[in-house]
Amino acid sequence: MTDKEMLFEYLLRLGDNCVILSQRLAEWCGKAPVLEEEMALMNVGLDLVGQARLILDYAGKVEGAGRDEDKLAYHRDAQDWRNLLLVEQPNGDFAVTMARQLYFDLFQQLQFEALVKSKDQTISEIAAKSLKEIKYHVRHSSDWVIRLGDGTDESHERMQNALDQLWGFTPEMFDMDAVEQAMVDAGIGVDVSTLRDEWDARINAILTEATLKRPDVTWEVRGSREGKHSEHLGYLLAEMQFLPRAYPDASW
């Protein structure tokens, strides 16, 4: 891979997370447990759409093949997507959505804090802008995990199940490979393997306050870096991409 291809690939990894997770949050529309929470979920979703647009727009420019944010979002098949397996997992109940959100929000915060120092000016600016939003997301999801964990017996059980159910998708977040390493070497990217300890410490603190157990799960799955996704992604894309795929000549 050339340097340019590596950077393009790296940007897809950053941007695709935002596209897919915002799509999942959009599915909550009209179904949130409280009207106020409806507003909160949509705010997070909107932030992610905004981040996705900035990052994919830049990715398209780096690639230089004439693909814009929408070409990238609406005309790639599952094997070309680079989002984490975690973010494509279905919403489940509110506890599952909050567990997924907490795992990702915390990771994204640590990742973007480091990316603010990126030598790539555009990445650095996007990271700085997004970080303000992400800090709020972390506050939102950790508040909820604590409330549900330390709430009723039912909510405690649901929250624990949700954490367990998604835990095996988290190790992938901290994987390094040739692309990640090249970006670190170029001073553009962040060594995600070094974020693990901090992420663990913060998760542990939140789970302790929530009276929840750190998941005792031995399985872990990975593959998104090579486009090996769970079966959920195909359906998500089929729905999301329907219009631009059905009417490729149209603009909207």
Partner: protein, 97 residues
């Protein structure tokens, strides 16, 4: 009504739109605790950058005067015009005071 007991408490929301102005009542919302009330207020009432500061107060904690008290609360001040500057006649020659 069956669910009223489990309804989240009501909070009143006050927003300072910019420094130099008072916080102003903008409406209410439901939240289980103060932190949720504050973040909900942010999500509900400042979507268009309407504020730089938010107060939330549990509605139960608001102490309000009653309309029936209007006469004894406010009317007695209607005849105390000496509290207003226009009560005093100062000749024009003195200038602005």
């Amino acid at each position: 009504m069956s669910n009223t007991a489990s309804e989240l408490p009501l909070y009143e929301v006050f927003i300072r739109s910019k420094n130099g102005l008072h916080h102003k009542h903008v409406g209410s919302l439901h939240a289980s605790d103060d932190e949720m009330a504050l973040t909900n207020a942010r999500d509900v009432y400042t979507r268009r950058s309407e504020g730089v500061s938010i107060w939330v107060v549990k509605t139960d904690n608001v102490v309000a005067s009653q309309p029936e008290d209007k006469a004894s609360f406010y009317d007695p001040n209607d005849d105390k015009m000496y509290r207003h500057p226009t009560f005093y006649n100062i000749p024009d020659e003195v200038g602005h005071m």
